[in-house]
């Protein structure tokens, strides 16, 4: 497990300012989808028993139904947790020194990258669509001068506030490490 107080490559005096995940609507969607998937076979079995009353009474039909229902529910629970992990392990950490982007793609693909605040060139917040506007969530794009061209905080809550915080931290960093920004700053 990782601790916010002991981030990898921790720098002296570095403090965590923001710890971000996608908006809770992502979990809500996942729970809704799983609930529908869990209820669907019950409706299907009811429909089959109404249309073909003798179908599920046959021992072989009963065996087939038992096996497939077991497989189905195991798949639904495994899928739910797999997707939840995808949500839970996609995190963005903003500290007084750097921005850390950690993304989990599926079971065996994990990307962790970081950008020093001195590399930040531009920060943009985007809220597009009625639901996003209503629930105040969206994307924050952080453009960089370094090898990593852009970080995207995807579907985070309060994107405008996050944009302001990142910009403020970049300004503060300029005052602390003026040499990192070159002679023009």
């Amino acid at each position: 497990m990782f601790h916010l107080q002991h981030l990898p490559n921790h720098r002296p005096g570095e403090k965590t300012v923001l710890f971000l995940r996608r908006h809770w609507i992502a979990v809500f969607r996942l729970v809704g989808f799983t609930a529908i998937a869990a209820i669907a076979p019950i409706g299907l079995l009811w429909l089959l028993s109404e249309l073909f009353p003798t179908l599920l009474v046959v021992p072989t039909s009963n065996a087939i139904a038992t096996v497939f229902i077991s497989i189905y529910y195991l798949a639904v629970v495994t899928f739910f947790f797999q997707e939840f992990i995808d949500y839970y392990l996609d995190t963005w950490v903003v500290t007084t020194e750097r921005i850390i982007n950690i993304e989990q793609h599926g079971l065996f693909h994990r990307v962790a990258s970081e950008m020093h605040l001195a590399m930040v060139q531009d920060v943009t917040a985007t809220v597009r669509g009625a639901l996003r506007t209503f629930l105040d969530y969206g994307d924050v794009h952080i453009h960089s001068a370094g090898p990593i061209q852009q970080f995207r905080f995807r579907d985070i809550a309060n994107p405008e506030r996050v944009r302001q915080v990142v910009q403020q931290l970049t300004e503060d960093d300029k005052h602390r490490h003026p040499s990192a920004y070159g002679p023009n700053h």
Binding site: F2, L4, T60, V67, L74, V77, I85, I102, Q104, L107
Partner: protein, 85 residues
Amino acid sequence: MIPISILLVIFLAFIGLVVLFTFFNVYHILRFGKAGLFTLGITAIYLVVIGALLMWSLYNILTIDWTLTINLFGFEPNITNIYRY
């Protein structure tokens, strides 16, 4: 005639897949998740739910007579009759 025990093989293969996924999921959340009670709690809930589901499945599977066969055509084909015509 297809023996329904073939379903048991499919089911057991799927159980193997679920165990594999569960192992990697739990590994990922415990290795890379944020330290705290929530991470431990969600892992415990997942293990309890998947364990209960496996027990329920195995309990139901054990009540089935696996010596039965599926007759796809609903009747026993009498091959010898075709030579009469």
